[in-house]
């Protein structure tokens, strides 16, 4: 699929080669290919439409540029637009004026929150901070246990006063403990023991689950986070926008973390979410190991979404 897409775009651009001007028909033809490429990359349809319209607009108004032929110009416009949206406001963690800095993780089930908690812990530790992990997922079977193992591997302390949903419970159908209480008490614990970063792991929840969304809002109010990070799987399809909007409304978030980027999903969700919520994508998670973690690179993501290893190669071919 990767090759055919690249070939298809390359073919379109080739047909534009040598022309002195971009005609309306050229723009339409290219726009169709770009639309298809974005949809195959799982960019949300509404976002694709907006995006393609913007590209067409800019392509029409494009001044003939001495150094670039028309095809190169369109490629450049597409790339620029993508990078602008993806990189809108690049920034890293905002630290609290008075420690601890509190980071809360939220997202759908299985997105990679608990794994990310471990990665963040290692990352902060590497920068000389002293992080505390908080086990506020009392719902998924053995989530607390999982976070404890993660903490052990990262060499950081885990605040886990409640066992949550585990075999040691008397009543296996009713998880023990209150996640809001756990979250609240973790702040006191951090202040007392001088942890300067607190990372709160929460249960996965669906965008349409009003009750659990309220619980997330309650956890947020209890810890007053400096950063709420929305954790999302790079393989997500058209639903990315619904879900991102639901979390934006339900808990609100300050930044996005894209996970499982070590696979071959194009990750169009990055574009959809950045465009719709206007929140920056801050980190990329790309593996199961605790160091498989990086700050987000908008330019790399742009060529990944378009399925082109290197946009510049294409410009040269054009």
């Amino acid at each position: 699929m990767f090759d055919t897409l690249q070939d298809r775009l390359a073919a379109t651009f080739k047909s534009l080669r040598g022309k002195g001007r971009i005609t309306e028909a050229d723009i339409d033809e290219t726009a169709r290919e770009i639309r298809r490429a974005l949809l195959e990359a799982d960019v949300n349809l509404a976002v694709v439409k907006d995006f393609v319209a913007a590209v067409k607009e800019r392509a029409r108004g494009a001044e003939l540029h001495g150094a670039l032929n028309p095809a190169q110009q369109i490629v450049k416009i597409v790339n620029d637009e993508l990078v602008t949206i993806l990189g809108g406001e690049t920034r890293t963690i905002r630290y609290a004026k008075r420690p601890p800095t509190v980071i809360m993780l939220a997202g759908l089930q299985g997105a990679g929150k608990t794994t990310l908690a471990g990665k963040l812990a290692v990352w902060f530790k590497g920068q000389g901070h002293s992080p505390l992990l908080v086990a506020a997922d009392l719902q998924r079977p053995n989530a607390v246990n999982q976070l404890q193992v993660v903490g052990q591997r990262a060499g950081v302390h885990v605040f886990a006063p409640e066992p949550g949903n585990a075999s040691s419970n008397d009543d296996l159908d009713r998880p023990r403990g209150n996640p809001v209480e756990v979250a609240k008490n973790s702040i006191t614990e951090a202040e007392r023991r001088l942890y300067d970063v607190v990372i709160v792991d929460t249960a996965g929840r669906l965008g349409i689950d009003a009750e659990l969304m309220q619980q997330a809002a309650d956890i947020r109010d209890a810890v007053r986070p400096d950063e709420v990070l929305f954790v999302v799987d790079a393989m997500i399809g058209q639903d990315a926008v619904n879900t991102a909007n639901a979390f934006a409304e339900g808990v609100g978030f300050d930044g996005v973390v894209l996970t499982k980027l070590d696979g071959d999903a194009r990750g169009g969700a990055a574009l959809s979410i950045a465009r719709v919520t206007g929140k920056p994508i801050m980190f990329a998670s790309n593996g199961e190991g605790q160091r498989d973690f990086d700050v987000f690179h908008p330019d790399r993501m742009a060529s990944r979404i378009l399925g082109m290893g290197d946009m510049l190669t294409l410009i040269e071919q054009a």
Binding site: G110, Q139, G207, I236, N242, G263
Partner: protein, 289 residues
Amino acid sequence: NALGRGLLLLLSRDQIDEQTWEDFEDTLITADLGVGPTTELVDTLRTRFRVEGVADAGRAREILRSELLALLDPSMDRTIRADRTDTPAVIMVVGVNGTGKTTTVGKLARVLVAEDKDVLLGAADTFRAAAAEQLQTWGDRVGVPTVRGAEGSDPASVAFEAVKAGIEGEVDVVLIDTAGRLHTKTGLMDELGKVKRVIERQAPVGEVLLVLDATTGQNGLTQARIFREVVDVTGIVLTKLDGSAKGGIVVQVQRELGVPVKLVGLGEGVDDLAPFDATVFVDALLETA
């Protein structure tokens, strides 16, 4: 939901114009059906409407629904092979990270227990933090034993031990949970193939269920292709259908690979597993979300 609206529009306008068709196409794409299958479906419909001179809305709707259903081939065999022969029936559950494999094993065990079957779980995810504990909690919850190995031990040997215990204990079904792995990681995919081969030294693996998350987009097809190559997938479980995602990618998966969707996951509770019903699935696609 755009699809529902698109259909209503499509059927209420006197003339089915270009805009209507585009709306319809859009709504299918929004359900993750994919550009290819959507274009094909719309083309088929256009032809049928023209050839048959479809004018009334009732008939148009019938055709739409039947074409969507045809894509899902309701005649496929979707039963779970869980009958004991000389050896226990062995079911392996595979898929990429976080899709709901362990949860599905737990819920499926519950269903089998309700059918009076003797079930045993094998925790062949020896990699992820607390994966075996998670499976064991599910086992405790539905009242079946779990065979575990040490963390970091060889998953194939845990699977082997589990099936061995199943044979010795003369159970009906052994359910093997495996670690999540991205289909792009050849080392991990080889490991999965080995787990299956090692099990088959003692008993055939009658069912390999690939768990796909309903939120997954176009990557789901690639996942299914590669898992099928490696372990010969016999059925799909589509999880997290209780959310807002429609899981449209399974249409392509089923059609291209001929592997039927057998079960759907509808929540995190013990009873939130149901047989896949093509009609229900199509109606959900057509319904307002």
